[in-house]
């Protein structure tokens, strides 16, 4: 039930865009995105509850495609502060847990 994240790592220059994908083999109830800075705990970014829903947080937005059982995180005009590892957490109906992907390490360079 662990979702698959891609890519595993990406390096961007400031101002460039990136997309991180999170795919599930099982029907999703909700998707949760987190960012973890080096040496710190993961911080919640946003939740997507419905198929086709899109949400935004500063210049970071996400979509949830219920049919494809996947979510994508969009980082536009990246800033140095976006560097970190991004995790998706997936929830399934009836489960008490989130299942976390293996993470995508994003590095933004000047």
């Amino acid at each position: 039930q662990q979702p698959v994240q891609s890519p595993q790592a990406v390096i961007l220059r400031e101002g460039e865009d990136a997309v991180i994908n999170c795919s599930s083999s099982k029907a999703l109830y909700s998707v949760h995105w987190y960012r973890q800075k080096h040496g710190e705990a993961p911080v919640f970014l946003m939740i997507l509850l419905k198929g086709g829903e899109q949400k935004g947080h500063e210049k970071i937005s996400a979509s949830f495609n219920e049919k494809k059982q996947q979510s994508s995180l969009y980082l536009t005009a990246s800033q140095l502060s976006y560097s970190g590892t991004y995790f998706c957490g997936t929830a399934y109906s009836g489960a008490n847990n989130l299942f976390f992907g293996t993470g995508t390490r994003l590095t933004v360079i000047p």
Binding site: S30, I47, N96, N97, L98, F100, G103
Partner: protein
């Protein structure tokens, strides 16, 4: 508002020594609580979760145990640490309205 505390922040322990990590949550009642371990550069491994006092589910069989003596207190223990127990231990609580989990600051454990 809700806050989650973990202590200690860092810990260096010899192999074979006992362990006790504590997590407390403020500002919410009867939360679901979780213990995760994260090895260096790796993902989040769920160790235990609890839906109430003395209700603990173990996800990974190992030499660790968890207890929840009070509604907002979650403790991770070991009688004898192994080298492989080193890592970043994270406690999290889950809100009542959604499945979102919120993480504490973590405890970095080094077993030598």
């Amino acid at each position: 508002s809700q806050t989650i505390h973990q202590w200690p922040a860092t810990l260096v322990q010899p192999v074979g020594s006992p362990l006790s990590l504590e997590c407390t949550v403020e500002g919410t009642s009867n939360p679901n609580l979780y213990w995760y371990r994260q090895a260096a550069g790796r993902g989040l491994q769920l160790l235990f979760y609890s839906i109430g006092i003395d209700q603990i589910s173990s996800e990974v069989p190992q030499n660790l145990s968890a207890s929840r003596p009070q509604d907002r207190q979650f403790i991770l223990s070991s009688k004898k640490l192994l080298l492989s127990d080193s890592g970043f231990y994270l406690c999290a609580w889950r809100g009542t309205r959604t499945d979102t989990q919120y993480f504490g600051p973590g405890t970095r454990l080094t077993v030598l």
